[in-house]
């Protein structure tokens, strides 16, 4: 099965997802539970909103001085003995990583979770060049074995049931048929992936935070797979989007207090590894990737989306994401933040994403860096409409309604007609395939007289 998703009609994919009612509710409940855990953590810190405000200010400052901080980071990291590479786009990133691996004769790489490498489609590129890549985060490994993309940036296999994992491991690892106990399956994965860590000639990680002042990198995991992946072989390649910078080590106090609480409702990940330079006798390569970020930086409306620390809280809280699943977005990063980032990359392909939203603004309220997600989603609708990406029928409907609303007399007439039809038309005419509202809902019961008619008839006090 190809790793490329072609679904970009969110509404259609979502309708398909919802069709399996029990499964859609199971998915919704699983993610709601993560949201609840996040709430508990947030409520346990009286300074939660102060932390969010600080994080937002630090990121705004960093993005406002990004070029200077990138240069500082490169100087500091290089002084520590790391090698810093720059990639303007995904293709360049992939070539840089391949080149490093080939020069070291690497045949197999252990890779820990990196949405950036997903975004660049690194795995298939390396595979095409004869290098085996094993995703060592358990959820990522599961979807890798299934030949599909992750459906969530933090919980990659959230859409998969344990029986399905059991069946997958039975086929691929030879575990017992019918076994679905998560402990048993995790143990099997531990054993198998241990071989991978021991046999790989290189480790690739993502970067949660890069510190400009010190030239260091911070990688956060619960499983320990990032550290195992890079502490056994001598070669560590760290891939990061240029927006992952923070100015000072002290800023980590803010971000590490927010990240895991927002992402999974735990006070901190099990491991928060701080890499300053390579290990003795080893090599550390850091690949800084632009891939469209500098152009978002130039856009006043969407610049704040670069503050994202990839926690996934917006996905967990989004009532639409929970009920449609990450795959329905057809992109590496789904959910509210994805619906802002992806149209920038390819407006034609992702035009439906900003509409996969009821504008409830819950995402904005959970975002640890206070990105105005719901406002940016609305702005995207404006930009897509202006770029002619709205369907003809949507545009026509809006033009007609606006024309009616601009003329009070016409509006009153239209209202009278609508109410008359609602009261007198037979059900079979009112409720048909042409009435999507009526598929699962009754239409309002129409009154004989509108408010304005009744107000006019009232005796004046």
């Amino acid at each position: 099965m190809s790793n490329e998703l072609i679904v970009t009609d969110h509404a259609k994919a979502a309708a398909e997802f919802v069709r399996d009612d029990a499964r859609a509710h199971w998915h919704d409940q699983a993610l709601w539970f993560v949201r609840v855990k996040r709430d508990r953590m947030a409520q346990s810190l009286p300074e939660w909103e102060t932390l969010r405000a600080k994080a937002a200010e630090i990121k705004a400052h960093t993005v406002g001085h990004l070029a200077d901080y990138l240069e500082q980071f490169e100087r500091q990291a290089t002084a520590l003995g790391a090698k810093v590479h720059w990639a303007a786009d995904a293709a360049e990133h992939n070539r840089i990583v391949l080149d490093i691996l080939q020069r070291h004769g690497v045949r197999q790489v252990a890779k820990s979770k990196s949405m950036l490498t997903e975004e660049c489609h690194l795995n298939p590129f390396l595979e095409r060049h004869g290098i085996t890549v094993v995703d060592t985060d358990l959820g990522e490994w599961i979807v890798q074995l299934r030949g599909e993309p992750p459906s969530h940036i933090v919980l990659p296999a959230i859409h998969i049931k344990k029986e399905e994992v059991g069946e997958l491991f039975h086929r691929k690892l030879g575990t017992e048929a019918g076994a679905s106990d998560p402990k048993y399956l995790t143990e099997a994965a531990r054993y198998k992936l241990r071989q991978v860590f021991l046999e790989s000639q290189a480790g690739i990680t993502g970067v949660n935070f890069a510190i400009a002042e010190t030239g260091g990198l911070v990688v956060c995991t619960n499983e320990g797979n990032a550290d195992l992946g890079v502490s056994l072989p001598k070669l560590h390649i760290a891939c990061m989007g240029i927006e992952k910078l923070i100015p000072r080590a002290a800023d980590l106090g803010v971000f590490l207090r927010l990240l895991a609480r927002s992402a999974t409702g735990q006070p901190i990940t099990t491991y928060s590894s701080h890499f300053h330079g390579p290990a003795p006798g080893g090599e550390l390569h850091i690949v800084l990737v632009d891939n469209g970020r500098s152009s978002i930086l130039g856009n006043d409306d969407y610049r704040r989306s670069l503050h994202c620390i990839r926690c996934g809280a917006c996905m967990n809280t989004c009532p639409v994401y929970r009920r449609s699943g990450g795959h329905s977005y057809g992109a590496t990063v789904p959910g509210p933040i994805g619906s802002i980032l992806n149209p920038a990359r390819d407006p034609g392909r992702y035009a439906t994403l900003p509409y996969a939203c009821s504008l409830c603004a819950s995402c904005t309220d959970v975002c640890p860096v206070k990105i105005n997600l719901h406002e940016q989603l609305l702005t995207w609708r404006r930009d897509l409409a202006a770029a002619g990406k709205l369907s003809w029928s949507k545009r026509a409907a809006m033009k007609v309604t606006a024309a009616v609303f601009a003329r009070p007399g016409l509006y009153r007439l239209a209202g009278k007609v609508a109410r008359f039809c609602l009261r007198h038309m037979p059900r079979v005419l009112l409720y048909g395939p042409w009435n999507p509202w009526g598929r699962q809902r009754e239409l309002p019961q129409a009154p004989r007289r509108s408010f304005r008619e009744q107000y006019a008839r009232r005796p004046k006090p």
Binding site: F33, G64, T186, D227, G253, I268, P280
Partner: protein
């Protein structure tokens, strides 16, 4: 123009607002009993605390831990603690550590808010021992329990090549249907031995 120049030029062409960096000087959370908070936070993530009244009591305290019972290969890197049977400095290749049952390593300080211990594993010959062992024991001076992460970063300076890691509890995953499983790829258990009357390594 190479990629670096291209990227920096693209960024510098924009003129976003340039707000100043906020101060981090706030009244961050402090706990009435940092020790108790640390123990509770660690327990909530699947770890446990044991106490030693002095450094001299430590060997007995650690020897009694369940993982030590069946442990065949033990690495101990805490100076003055004769609990290991495999000397890390004599191991040439970290791959040879694959069968380590218990690793006993010093932690510099602990953080009450999240049960984390700062481990300067970069000072060890093979940092991998902290992750490849089946069970990890971190030895921490009881006097070095900080309240929150801001205090932690006030203690840390990064001016030379180094590797350090905050470790909070045993490795874990909930990637299979959100079922929490302790012991993913790293240690299956994490014990913090708090030692009174000891200032650390």
């Amino acid at each position: 123009m190479n990629a670096k120049q291209k990227i920096l030029a693209a960024i510098r062409r924009q003129s976003p607002a340039r707000p100043s960096l906020p101060s981090l000087d706030e009244a961050w959370i402090e706990y009435p009993d940092a020790q108790a908070q640390f123990a509770a936070a660690l327990a909530s993530v699947g770890g446990q605390v044991v106490e030693a009244a002095s450094f001299a009591d430590l060997p007995a305290v650690i020897a009694q831990l369940p993982p030590m019972e069946q442990a065949a290969k033990i690495v101990c890197t805490v100076p003055g603690l004769p609990l290991g049977n495999c000397v890390l400095d004599e191991v040439a290749d970290p791959h040879e550590l694959a069968d380590v049952d218990v690793a006993i390593v010093a932690g510099r300080f602990a953080v009450a808010e999240n049960g984390a211990v700062w481990v300067e594993a970069g000072r060890l010959r093979h940092r991998a021992v902290c992750f490849i062992c089946q069970h990890l024991v971190l030895v921490v001076p009881q006097s070095q329990v900080l309240h929150n992460m801001h205090q932690a970063y006030q203690r840390l300076t990064f001016t030379e090549p180094a590797y350090g890691v905050f470790i909070s509890g045993p490795s874990k995953t909930a990637d299979i249907e959100q079922s929490l499983v302790i012991g993913a790829h790293g240690a299956r258990s994490l014990t913090v031995a708090m030692v009174a009357g000891w200032e650390g390594v």
